[in-house]
């Protein structure tokens, strides 16, 4: 019995090895996703970027991915597996993969790593993120124009700088149109949980908001908005198919251009460790088509978008007052990237206390 098993195992191994195609000349590119690729949000868009690499570079590359990787002790193993299996470029696409990425990068100096949204780099580790707050300023303006009650409901995940920055940028945009604009905030403490997100949306609408904004990844809040006859904005991907009457626009994460450029850089040997933080200008942040909006609002949104893209205007331009009344930026002053990256305070007018 044991002999048979051993023989079968040996045979299987031999067949397995023989079945592996020769891929020595191709660049293998690996991706680690924190969620399922079917989330229609964060991981879905990263996977979209992976497919863009395949489309652009065809035979020169081969891509693989591991999805639903938990941000705990498992992450390092998943990353190391990709490094060991001959991947030359590895994208780790969630903040929680930062330290595991650095640990694996130290062991594999010849492999290039790209870590999304982190702040630690090494000779073979780049970081990249997108200036989503640019899109949030635009939707803030739209919300203030479109809301009859003057109150938007805002569903948020975790009080990290990225999310706080989004709230502030949205509020500054809204206040530029209506200085008395208000938001109601609900923290759901998850990136994706359709049931919780839907409950939050219902609660907000019951409290009289008529626009729903989300910094969570599922399509549930927009679907609730559609059912209840209010409007909202898509998150991460264009969610118009899920809420054709409710979506005004969506802030789309578009990693395609960046991913293709980085893959090409590895292929032609010009890859260097960098920190990239791109927005509208780098086409990392894209607004989905403006729908269900009157022409003048569309014109305003497009104008703001064009000004931000050209660098003529920055959403965090002073005067900016903090919630406690102190000054964050003087008149005409633009907040530094450093200040944006560590933001843990609200602008004046936000009626919520940051969870500590």
């Amino acid at each position: 019995m044991r002999k048979i098993i051993a023989a079968a195992a040996a045979m299987a191994l031999a067949m397995g090895l023989a079945a592996t195609p020769a891929t020595a000349d191709k660049l293998k590119i690996g991706f680690i996703y924190v969620g399922p690729i079917g989330d229609h949000g964060w991981s879905y868009q990263h996977n979209h970027g992976r497919l863009a690499i395949e489309e652009a570079l065809g035979d020169q590359v081969e891509t693989t991915y591991v999805e639903n990787v938990s941000e705990g002790p498992d992450a390092e193993r998943a990353i190391e597996r990709l490094a060991r299996e001959g991947h030359g470029l590895i994208f780790t696409t969630s903040f929680g993969f930062m330290n595991p990425t650095l640990k694996v990068a130290e062991k594999f100096p010849d492999v290039k790593f790209e870590h999304a949204t982190g702040y630690k780099r090494a000779d073979n580790v780049s970081t990249y993120s997108a200036r989503f707050y640019e899109g949030r300023y635009v939707i803030g303006q739209i919300a203030a124009k479109m809301s009859k009650t003057g109150v938007a409901g805002y569903i948020v995940s975790f009080p990290i700088p990225e999310v706080v920055r989004g709230i502030n940028s949205f509020m500054l945009g809204a206040q530029s149109v209506n200085p008395d604009f208000k938001i109601k905030i609900i923290w759901v403490n998850t990136w994706i949980d359709p049931a919780k997100e839907a409950d939050a949306a219902k609660a907000l609408i019951d409290q009289g908001v008529d626009i729903i904004v989300q910094h969570t990844d599922s399509t549930a809040p927009l679907q609730v908005a559609q059912d209840r006859g209010v409007t909202g904005f898509g998150q991460a991907s264009d969610m118009i198919a899920f809420a054709p009457k409710a979506q005004l626009t969506a802030i789309v994460d578009d990693w395609s251009a960046y991913y293709v450029a980085r893959a090409k850089a590895v292929l032609d040997g010009s890859w260097k460790s960098e920190d990239v933080w791109g927005g509208f200008d780098a086409k990392m942040v894209v607004m989905a088509p403006y729908t269900n909006l009157p022409d003048d609002v569309v014109a305003m949104a497009k104008e703001t978008q064009a000004k931000i893209t050209s660098g003529e205007f920055h959403p965090f331009t002073g005067p900016i007052m903090k919630q406690d009344g102190s000054e964050a930026a003087a008149d005409g002053e633009v907040l530094s990237d450093e200040a944006l990256l560590s933001m843990n305070w609200y602008v004046k007018g936000v009626d919520d206390k940051l969870p500590e």
Partner: protein
Amino acid sequence: MRLELEKRAEQSRLMVVVSPLIAIGLTLIAGAILFAALGHDPVRALTVYFIEPVTAAWSLQELFVKATPLVIIAVGLSVCYLSNTWNIGAEGQFTVGAIAGSWVALSLNSWDSPLLLPLILIAGTLGGMAWGAIPALLKTRFNANEILTSLMLVYVAQFLLDYLVRGPWRDPAGYNFPESELFSAAATMPLLIEGGRLHIGAIFALVVVVAGAVLLAGTLKGFEIRVIGQAPRAGQFAGFSRTQMVVFAFLLSGGLAGLAGISEVAGPIGQLRPTISPGYGFAAIIVAFLGRLNPIAILFAGLLLALSYLGGEAAQVSLGISDKTTKVFQGMLLLFVLSCDTLILYKIRLLPPRRRAETVDQGAGE
């Protein structure tokens, strides 16, 4: 017609040994069908799943890294379950253990002494014990159902961890991201093999397995655990205290879960984060039963479950098989193993449908 499970008068000794092999055989066949139906070469898929992870030194290490917390927790739980005490909250005790140990590690992060790590591990174990003591106390004082209280305390523990890493213990140099500082070298578990991830936690797991086996098979305490578990009244006549046993079981299983928690945080993770466990405390319940509540068998059950995780990941990378498929496959493995085990103790009988009158009669008789 209906099916009924009927307890066998005697168990076949042969089947006790053969049943896991049958289960693995059935899993392989069902897995081959599953992979073939999805258009993958079944032989290659099964090779990637079960054989590749144990053929490379690297992934063998990873296998033990993954199995370590599962085994440590499951041995504690086996003692608990044998004594008929139901601790479902090992995940919470794991978390509080990690928190308590990290408190020592973070407060003394600049203290470069060989005493630091033992202190951290003791704090972690005590933390797990303290969290386990709550449901034990509620059970013995107020007769509150320990399944519910221990489970609900998992969420309390997770929110406590969340609060700490987002608030007071946040790394001041970390741009407000919810993570603690990295532990210093003196606060980190030593590696067994340079350049790998296998740490001394694996040795703790082996020690715990041996200690658990000796406790259950060779001591009066082990006898007491079994008697109280199987026949509480007989235990009372023998002078064994049910109350003391509940406390003992919770302290032991909680302490081990806490040890597993701090070993993960001071080991492979190296800092406190909002997520520190992919559900080890719950997976360990499966491991405990997969190992038939026997510490030695639990060691193998832990390795088997760890293998199924690693294999699933390998299949995603090498074959592009989706994460959902590998979970279905894991589920099939557990289903076959547990049902084959059930059939050692029980046999299935096909009975004619029960008539209504008969049901009523039985109901009245009870």
